[in-house]
Amino acid sequence: MVFMPTLRQSLANPTRFMELSAWLLPWITGAACVLLTLGLYMSFTAPLDYQQGHAAKIMFVHVPTAWLSMFGYALVAFSSFGLLVFRHPLADVSAKAAAPVGAVFTLLCLLTGSLWGKPMWGTFWVWDPRLTSVLILFLLYLGLIALRSSIEDETLAAKLTAVLSLVGIVILPVIKFSVEWNSLHQPASVMRLGAPTIHPSLLRPLLVMALAMSVVFLALYLKAMRNEVLRRRLKALRAYQVQTSVDLARQPAE
């Protein structure tokens, strides 16, 4: 029941996407499994961090989830832009699919972070700019999902959520630079101008884990998109079922 006027000509697009993703998904899943096992092995055999001791192991899950939580929002905003400006038929599918995945990764970042905070700072939670801004990112995700779910007409919901996600994009730089602003939290030591300041023996497993997590994210995201396309197919079929009984009479003969 929900599709945009431009769809008739760009109908091919979702179908081609389905074929492509159907072919890709197994490979990506496989890659994810391999990388994940490798990453886990490397991170548990990594040397101790001289000041944080074993606790630094949490970094290998914490940092990737953190990066991906921000990447996820960027993805949503990018897709929303594609929807509002280029009317690309897959844009909204992508935006809608990326939101819950990104939300989960944000939640994981918060959890692992607090679990790291207890041994390091002696508390699960402090109202430090970095932590707070990530919490707000999580709320933004929730807001996107809630707004979409609270509007009946899905075309409308799509556009409005897109507007919101574009408005909310300011959060990303805030998170990125929140560490500079009298924060307890580690400053960027990998994603920074100039060489990483973190010791290679820790950097290597971190990067592998980051790569692995990204592939996992990709797989989940693709699967979510596929589900969304299917859901819309289903909806279109139902609408057509109604139309054949209801609307065809009303529509001018084609």
Binding site: M1, V2, F3, M4, P5, D153, E154, T155, A239, Q243, V246, D247, A249, R250, Q251, P252, E254
Partner: protein, 203 residues
């Protein structure tokens, strides 16, 4: 001036509702939209007003003010009256007069024409259904617009008010305006051309 609609197609909630609509309304002409409930009269009127993006086709004005959008040259009287319940009749009218027309010198004439003169200072909340409709209709006299879009203008109007409307419309036509009205009951306009929308409504 002329309003040209060329094979217009409109979607509602993603489903095609109207398609291949084409007509021309010239100065001094009325076009009456007929059709069963839910056939798309309101949808069409809203599209002309520019509130709804057409799925296909075009809506143009010839000989109007090219720098202005179609909507800006229309009066749109929808199912709702655009009346603020907490303001008095006069205040409501005055606002629309200034907002649409930058001047309120037609105010008294308009209220008098629709028999609201005695209700000037009653809060609109107290008005009866028909009185509120009159107040909504009075907008067409508060500011000049060449095109009038009226959606079931006579809904809950009594005979007197309906007659007033007919007179007002014919004056507007005489002065070279054009009118598009959706209705179920005869409006009694003179020279009215009729456009019957999609024969079978989804009933």
């Amino acid at each position: 001036m002329k309003l040209l609609v060329e094979n217009l197609a409109l979607n509602r909630g993603g489903r095609p509702l109207l398609a291949g609509i084409s007509f021309v309304v010239g100065a001094g002409e009325v076009l009456v939209l007929l059709g069963a409930n839910g056939v798309g009269k309101t949808t069409l009127i809203r599209a002309i007003a520019g509130l709804l993006a057409p799925a296909a086709g075009s809506i143009r004005i010839e000989g109007g003010k090219p720098e202005r959008s179609v909507g800006e040259q229309c009066h749109y009287i929808g199912h709702l009256n655009g009346v603020k319940a907490s303001l008095t009749v006069a205040q409501n009218a005055a606002f629309w007069a200034r907002f649409l027309g930058r001047s309120r010198d037609r105010l008294d004439a308009a209220l008098a024409a629709f028999g609201l003169a005695n209700l000037r200072d009653i809060p609109a909340a107290y008005l009866s259904a028909g009185q509120q409709r009159r107040l909504g209709l009075a907008r067409v006299l508060l500011a000049h617009r060449p095109i009038w879009l009226l959606d079931e203008p006579t809904a809950s109007l009594d005979h007197a008010a309906a007659a007033v409307l007919t007179r007002v419309v014919s004056e507007h036509l005489a002065s070279g305006g054009l009118v598009i009205a959706a209705t179920h009951v005869p409006l009694g306009f003179a020279t009215a051309r009729e456009l019957a929308l999609g024969a079978a409504a989804p009933t």
